[in-house]
Protein backbone atom coordinates (compact mmCIF):
# COMPACT_ATOMS: atom_id res chain seq x y z
CA UNK A 1 0.00 0.00 0.00
CA UNK A 2 1.03 3.62 -0.40
CA UNK A 3 1.37 6.23 2.28
CA UNK A 4 -2.14 7.62 1.98
CA UNK A 5 -3.72 4.26 2.64
CA UNK A 6 -1.41 3.59 5.56
CA UNK A 7 -2.39 6.95 6.99
CA UNK A 8 -6.08 6.14 6.67
CA UNK A 9 -5.74 2.69 8.15
CA UNK A 10 -3.74 3.86 11.15
CA UNK A 11 -5.25 7.27 11.74
CA UNK A 12 -1.76 8.77 11.67
CA UNK A 13 -1.14 11.72 9.37
CA UNK A 14 1.02 11.35 6.30
CA UNK A 15 3.24 14.01 7.75
CA UNK A 16 3.85 11.93 10.88
CA UNK A 17 4.51 8.76 8.91
CA UNK A 18 7.26 10.52 6.98
CA UNK A 19 8.60 11.88 10.24
CA UNK A 20 8.72 8.41 11.77
CA UNK A 21 10.70 7.26 8.77
CA UNK A 22 13.13 10.12 9.22
CA UNK A 23 13.55 9.12 12.87
CA UNK A 24 14.30 5.56 11.87
CA UNK A 25 11.06 4.11 13.26
CA UNK A 26 9.49 3.08 10.00
CA UNK A 27 10.98 1.97 6.70
CA UNK A 28 9.52 1.78 3.26
CA UNK A 29 10.34 0.44 -0.15
CA UNK A 30 9.97 2.72 -3.11
CA UNK A 31 8.17 2.33 -6.38
CA UNK A 32 10.02 3.32 -9.53
CA UNK A 33 8.39 6.73 -9.36
CA UNK A 34 9.69 7.28 -5.83
CA UNK A 35 6.41 6.60 -4.03
CA UNK A 36 6.71 4.84 -0.68
CA UNK A 37 5.32 1.32 -0.55
CA UNK A 38 4.41 -0.50 2.64
CA UNK A 39 3.57 -4.10 3.40
CA UNK A 40 0.61 -5.16 5.53
CA UNK A 41 2.97 -5.39 8.49
CA UNK A 42 3.41 -1.65 8.46
CA UNK A 43 -0.08 -1.12 9.87
CA UNK A 44 0.74 -3.08 12.99
CA UNK A 45 4.12 -1.43 13.16
CA UNK A 46 2.62 2.05 13.15
CA UNK A 47 0.10 0.99 15.77
CA UNK A 48 2.99 -0.22 17.89
CA UNK A 49 4.77 3.12 17.49
CA UNK A 50 1.59 4.91 18.50
CA UNK A 51 1.24 2.67 21.51
CA UNK A 52 4.65 3.70 22.79
CA UNK A 53 4.07 7.35 22.00
CA UNK A 54 0.88 7.29 24.04
CA UNK A 55 2.96 5.73 26.80
CA UNK A 56 4.89 8.99 26.85
CA UNK A 57 8.05 7.80 25.11
CA UNK A 58 9.84 9.99 22.61
CA UNK A 59 10.58 8.77 19.11
CA UNK A 60 14.23 8.60 20.04
CA UNK A 61 13.54 6.35 23.01
CA UNK A 62 11.26 4.18 20.92
CA UNK A 63 13.93 3.89 18.26
CA UNK A 64 16.19 2.29 20.85
CA UNK A 65 14.13 -0.87 21.10
CA UNK A 66 11.46 -0.87 18.40
CA UNK A 67 13.38 -3.10 16.07
CA UNK A 68 13.78 -5.74 18.76
CA UNK A 69 10.16 -5.49 19.88
CA UNK A 70 8.93 -5.97 16.34
CA UNK A 71 10.67 -9.28 15.95
CA UNK A 72 10.56 -10.62 19.51
CA UNK A 73 8.20 -10.33 22.43
CA UNK A 74 8.77 -7.21 24.48
CA UNK A 75 9.85 -9.30 27.47
CA UNK A 76 12.84 -10.57 25.52
CA UNK A 77 14.11 -7.11 24.66
CA UNK A 78 16.40 -6.03 27.44
CA UNK A 79 16.46 -2.47 26.12
CA UNK A 80 12.85 -1.90 27.08
CA UNK A 81 12.83 -2.07 30.85
CA UNK A 82 15.55 0.57 31.41
CA UNK A 83 13.69 2.98 29.17
CA UNK A 84 10.47 2.32 31.07
CA UNK A 85 12.13 2.78 34.45
CA UNK A 86 13.87 5.92 33.31
CA UNK A 87 10.62 7.37 32.02
CA UNK A 88 8.85 6.46 35.22
CA UNK A 89 11.41 8.32 37.32
CA UNK A 90 11.17 11.30 35.05
CA UNK A 91 7.40 11.20 35.33
CA UNK A 92 7.58 11.03 39.10
CA UNK A 93 9.77 14.12 39.18
CA UNK A 94 7.47 15.97 36.82
CA UNK A 95 4.36 15.10 38.80
CA UNK A 96 6.01 16.02 42.09
CA UNK A 97 6.98 19.39 40.71
CA UNK A 98 3.53 20.09 39.31
CA UNK A 99 1.98 19.07 42.61
CA UNK A 100 4.22 21.43 44.48
CA UNK A 101 3.18 24.28 42.20
CA UNK A 102 -0.41 23.19 42.60
CA UNK A 103 -0.17 23.29 46.39
CA UNK A 104 1.36 26.77 46.28
CA UNK A 105 -1.34 27.92 43.94
CA UNK A 106 -4.14 26.57 46.11
CA UNK A 107 -2.63 28.27 49.08
CA UNK A 108 -2.54 31.58 47.22
CA UNK A 109 -6.15 31.19 46.17
CA UNK A 110 -7.27 30.35 49.69
CA UNK A 111 -5.33 33.31 50.96
CA UNK A 112 -6.92 35.67 48.47
CA UNK A 113 -10.38 34.38 49.23
CA UNK A 114 -9.82 34.82 52.95
CA UNK A 115 -8.76 38.39 52.38
CA UNK A 116 -11.81 39.04 50.24
CA UNK A 117 -14.09 37.64 52.95
CA UNK A 118 -12.34 39.73 55.55
CA UNK A 119 -12.87 42.86 53.49
CA UNK A 120 -16.56 42.03 53.09
CA UNK A 121 -17.20 41.41 56.78
CA UNK A 122 -15.41 44.52 57.86
Amino acid sequence: MRIGELAKRTGVSIRSLRYYELQGLLSSDREENGYRVYSELAVEQVNTIQFYIRLGLSTEEIAGFLHCVLIKKEAFCEQVLPVYRNKLEQLDRQIAQLEMIRANLKERIAHLQAEATEATTQ
Copy 2:
Protein backbone atom coordinates in the same frame (compact mmCIF):
# COMPACT_ATOMS: atom_id res chain seq x y z
CA MET B 1 21.63 50.88 38.77
CA ARG B 2 22.43 49.30 35.43
CA ILE B 3 21.34 45.94 34.12
CA GLY B 4 24.41 44.03 35.28
CA GLU B 5 23.89 45.05 38.88
CA LEU B 6 20.19 44.25 38.73
CA ALA B 7 21.05 40.82 37.37
CA LYS B 8 23.49 40.20 40.21
CA ARG B 9 21.12 41.41 42.89
CA THR B 10 18.20 39.32 41.67
CA GLY B 11 20.00 36.27 40.36
CA VAL B 12 18.21 36.68 37.05
CA SER B 13 20.28 36.70 33.87
CA ILE B 14 20.71 39.87 31.86
CA ARG B 15 19.13 38.05 28.95
CA SER B 16 16.00 37.35 30.97
CA LEU B 17 15.75 40.91 32.25
CA ARG B 18 15.75 42.19 28.69
CA TYR B 19 13.17 39.56 27.80
CA TYR B 20 10.92 40.67 30.65
CA GLU B 21 11.12 44.20 29.34
CA LEU B 22 10.16 43.01 25.88
CA GLN B 23 7.17 41.22 27.39
CA GLY B 24 6.10 44.38 29.17
CA LEU B 25 6.89 43.11 32.66
CA LEU B 26 9.73 45.45 33.44
CA SER B 27 10.48 48.96 32.34
CA SER B 28 13.67 50.97 32.38
CA ASP B 29 14.89 54.45 31.82
CA ARG B 30 17.85 55.01 29.57
CA GLU B 31 21.07 56.89 30.01
CA GLU B 32 22.15 59.15 27.19
CA ASN B 33 24.30 56.35 25.82
CA GLY B 34 21.33 53.99 25.68
CA TYR B 35 22.18 51.97 28.79
CA ARG B 36 19.20 50.81 30.83
CA VAL B 37 18.85 52.39 34.27
CA TYR B 38 16.77 50.93 37.08
CA SER B 39 15.61 52.30 40.41
CA GLU B 40 15.87 50.38 43.65
CA LEU B 41 12.26 49.31 43.21
CA ALA B 42 13.26 47.19 40.23
CA VAL B 43 14.87 44.62 42.52
CA GLU B 44 11.61 43.93 44.28
CA GLN B 45 9.77 44.02 40.99
CA VAL B 46 11.99 41.37 39.47
CA ASN B 47 11.60 39.25 42.60
CA THR B 48 7.84 39.56 42.20
CA ILE B 49 8.07 38.46 38.59
CA GLN B 50 10.16 35.47 39.63
CA PHE B 51 7.65 34.61 42.31
CA TYR B 52 4.87 34.33 39.76
CA ILE B 53 7.03 32.46 37.32
CA ARG B 54 7.83 29.89 39.98
CA LEU B 55 4.08 29.66 40.54
CA GLY B 56 3.91 28.35 37.00
CA LEU B 57 2.49 31.43 35.32
CA SER B 58 3.66 32.51 31.89
CA THR B 59 5.03 35.99 31.31
CA GLU B 60 1.89 36.76 29.35
CA GLU B 61 -0.34 35.81 32.25
CA ILE B 62 1.80 37.77 34.66
CA ALA B 63 1.63 40.79 32.40
CA GLY B 64 -2.13 40.77 32.84
CA PHE B 65 -2.00 41.77 36.47
CA LEU B 66 1.56 42.69 37.41
CA HIS B 67 1.03 46.40 37.10
CA CYS B 68 -1.90 46.26 39.51
CA VAL B 69 -0.11 44.00 41.96
CA LEU B 70 2.87 46.31 42.07
CA ILE B 71 0.79 49.25 43.22
CA LYS B 72 -1.95 47.54 45.25
CA LYS B 73 -2.16 44.46 47.38
CA GLU B 74 -2.79 41.32 45.38
CA ALA B 75 -6.20 40.88 47.00
CA PHE B 76 -7.37 44.11 45.43
CA CYS B 77 -6.47 43.06 41.92
CA GLU B 78 -9.44 41.29 40.49
CA GLN B 79 -7.40 40.07 37.52
CA VAL B 80 -5.39 37.73 39.72
CA LEU B 81 -7.91 35.18 40.93
CA PRO B 82 -9.20 34.16 37.47
CA VAL B 83 -5.63 33.58 36.32
CA TYR B 84 -4.93 31.47 39.40
CA ARG B 85 -8.09 29.42 38.97
CA ASN B 86 -7.43 28.95 35.29
CA LYS B 87 -3.89 27.79 35.98
CA LEU B 88 -5.10 25.45 38.67
CA GLU B 89 -7.52 23.76 36.31
CA GLN B 90 -4.84 23.46 33.70
CA LEU B 91 -2.51 21.97 36.29
CA ASP B 92 -5.14 19.46 37.36
CA ARG B 93 -5.55 18.31 33.79
CA GLN B 94 -1.82 18.04 33.29
CA ILE B 95 -1.32 16.06 36.46
CA ALA B 96 -4.22 13.75 35.67
CA GLN B 97 -2.77 13.04 32.26
CA LEU B 98 0.69 12.36 33.60
CA GLU B 99 -0.75 10.09 36.26
CA MET B 100 -2.61 8.12 33.66
CA ILE B 101 0.58 7.65 31.68
CA ARG B 102 2.34 6.72 34.88
CA ALA B 103 -0.22 4.09 35.72
CA ASN B 104 0.07 2.57 32.25
CA LEU B 105 3.82 2.56 32.51
CA LYS B 106 3.80 0.86 35.92
CA GLU B 107 1.49 -1.75 34.55
CA ARG B 108 3.83 -2.41 31.65
CA ILE B 109 6.79 -2.71 33.98
CA ALA B 110 4.95 -5.08 36.30
CA HIS B 111 3.91 -7.11 33.30
CA LEU B 112 7.45 -7.35 31.99
CA GLN B 113 8.83 -8.32 35.38
CA ALA B 114 6.20 -11.01 35.74
CA GLU B 115 7.16 -12.43 32.37
CA ALA B 116 10.82 -12.36 33.30
CA THR B 117 10.12 -14.26 36.55
CA GLU B 118 8.05 -16.75 34.64
CA ALA B 119 10.85 -17.35 32.22
CA THR B 120 13.31 -17.89 35.08
CA THR B 121 11.15 -20.34 36.94
CA GLN B 122 10.40 -22.37 33.88
